[in-house]
Amino acid sequence: MKLDQICFRTSHLEQSWTLDAYRQVGGYQVLENLLKNKMRPEEILEQVKNSALRGRGGAGFPTGLKWSFMPRRMPGEKYIVCNSDEGEPGTCKDRDILRYNPHQLIEGMIIAGYTIGAGTGYNYIRGEFYEPIERFEAALKEAREAGLLGKNILGSDFHFELHTHIGAGAYICGEETALLESLEGKKGQPRYKPPFPAGYGLYGRPTTINNTETLASIPVILQYGGDWFHEIGTQNNGGSKIFCMTGHVNKPGNYEVPLGTPFSELLELAGGVRDGNSLKAVIPGGTSTPVVPGDKMLQLDMSYDGIGKGGSMLGAGSVIIMDEKTCMVKALKRIAYFYYEESCGQCTPCREGTGWLYRVIKRIEEGQGKQEDLDRLVNVAENINGNTICALGDAAAAPVMSFIKHFRDEFQYHIDHGHCMEHTG
């Protein structure tokens, strides 16, 4: 095993998704040992906290801290829910974990259940992921037959059930409380917080929701220790992270590298910018994170804190590369349309504001822009930002504010000339 391959640690094996392959890298040994030795949940929690593992779905919240909010001794059912509703534009890592290493996610979810006192888990997978759903279901079957799920797991007194749940096409369901609503069979409209899911979650019971990559990291953390994991990355940014390198790169792909890796090295791994072009801009963590100009990006490290220093966010590690020929107005138009399409409609600033943003950017792109449009866009974005129940509103505002901040001249050019700057578009 390469030391920095955490979630892809079976990738060198034939049929890496099978129980046999997973056992070859030491799979399920952590679970066996902790059940045999009746390891105290507090000890596991300590390791997870030491690992400095932060939520891989986008928010980067410390996983150990999130788990510690669960009232594990409270009687009655509690839940662990995995968020495999991968839909942030530019993100496609969970799909590959589900396809190529589903057992590691299953082991991670069982261990999570043991630690937080949950007897049931659900893995919410987006409905379009037919192949990943099939792989995950097949892995569940293997795990059940091997006595790794169900009652009295491996002869212990620990019971844990794990099920697949499927979505049906709604980006908003990646928001954790919308996901819970959807899992209850409703429209995916986010809930007010508080109460947080650890107090009032699925069916009103204490619930923890973690991303696929987060949960799949758990078995490896416990196999080699929290400190080991932490040291792979940087201070407070433990472990490796999968980066989805997409857009104008020569070798697009999912690259799992230590947090703190310089962006320039990651870009090199992905074969550099296409056709030898120069780097214009990068969206480092999926479309919900602010765009960063290329020259600035080349000085940043790929960690939560490193990208934070550049005025953006690591998000889900969805790195969208744009070369010199990209028209930033057109790119923003497409992103704005996405949030307009996916707003759930619950909060007025988001429901109405995302439509405004899209229509104004569209008219600028089509050569019908007015001088006051730039300030109007910023004004609308500011009025959405922070004024909605969930983060989709902020996510719609961030690209608009950052694109105009860094590439205002291009927007101005469109307004003045009615078309793209030379060499773009």
Partner: protein, 170 residues
């Protein structure tokens, strides 16, 4: 098309096979939480009804799950994978979101539009294909991509698209 029974006592609704499939899902959720199965059940029923949902099917599902009909309508209208009017035999969903756009999804869409002589949202006259423009499908490293029925197709080129569609056409 499977002949479904859409009225009468819930024990006899749909078909035995469909009830079995839906019951497998319902069993995953706690007692009294059958509503959780509404999305998986709608997928099953849509697939059994040539790819779309009728009001009668939704009403029958509401009876089957013992929930109000409005709860089923709300879900069926909220999620984009559910179709409320007839669709072609094959559904083509082309992603045009940012990573795919940067890799040429506009050309992909144009090529399919010309080849099938339809626009997104339309179905070919022979009822074989429905074309849709969709948001990110989570396969961005394989951009440009599309989903045809249950299959992802990545790194699309015009030749590749021709191959895929011609195979379905023959």
């Amino acid at each position: 098309m499977t002949e479904m029974l859409l009225t009468g006592p819930k024990e006899g609704l749909f078909t035995e096979t469909l009830r079995e499939q839906m019951d497998t899902w319902i069993a995953k959720y706690p007692a009294g939480q059958a509503q959780s199965a509404v999305i998986p059940c709608l997928h099953i029923l849509q697939a059994a009804n040539e790819g779309w949902l009728t009001t009668a099917i939704m009403d029958a599902l509401a009876s089957y799950l013992s929930i109000p009909a409005i709860s089923v309508y709300e879900v069926a209208t909220f999620y984009t994978m559910f179709e409320l009017s007839p669709v072609g035999k094959h559904k083509i969903s082309v992603c045009t979101n940012i990573s795919c756009m940067l890799c040429g999804s506009e050309k992909v869409m144009q090529h399919i539009e010309q080849k099938l002589n339809i626009k997104p949202g339309q179905t070919t006259e022979d009822g074989l294909f429905t074309l849709k423009e969709v948001e990110c499908l989570g396969a961005c490293v394989g951009a440009p991509m599309m989903l045809v029925d249950k299959q992802y197709h990545e790194f699309l080129t015009e030749d590749k698209i021709d191959d895929i569609l011609d195979r379905l056409n023959s």
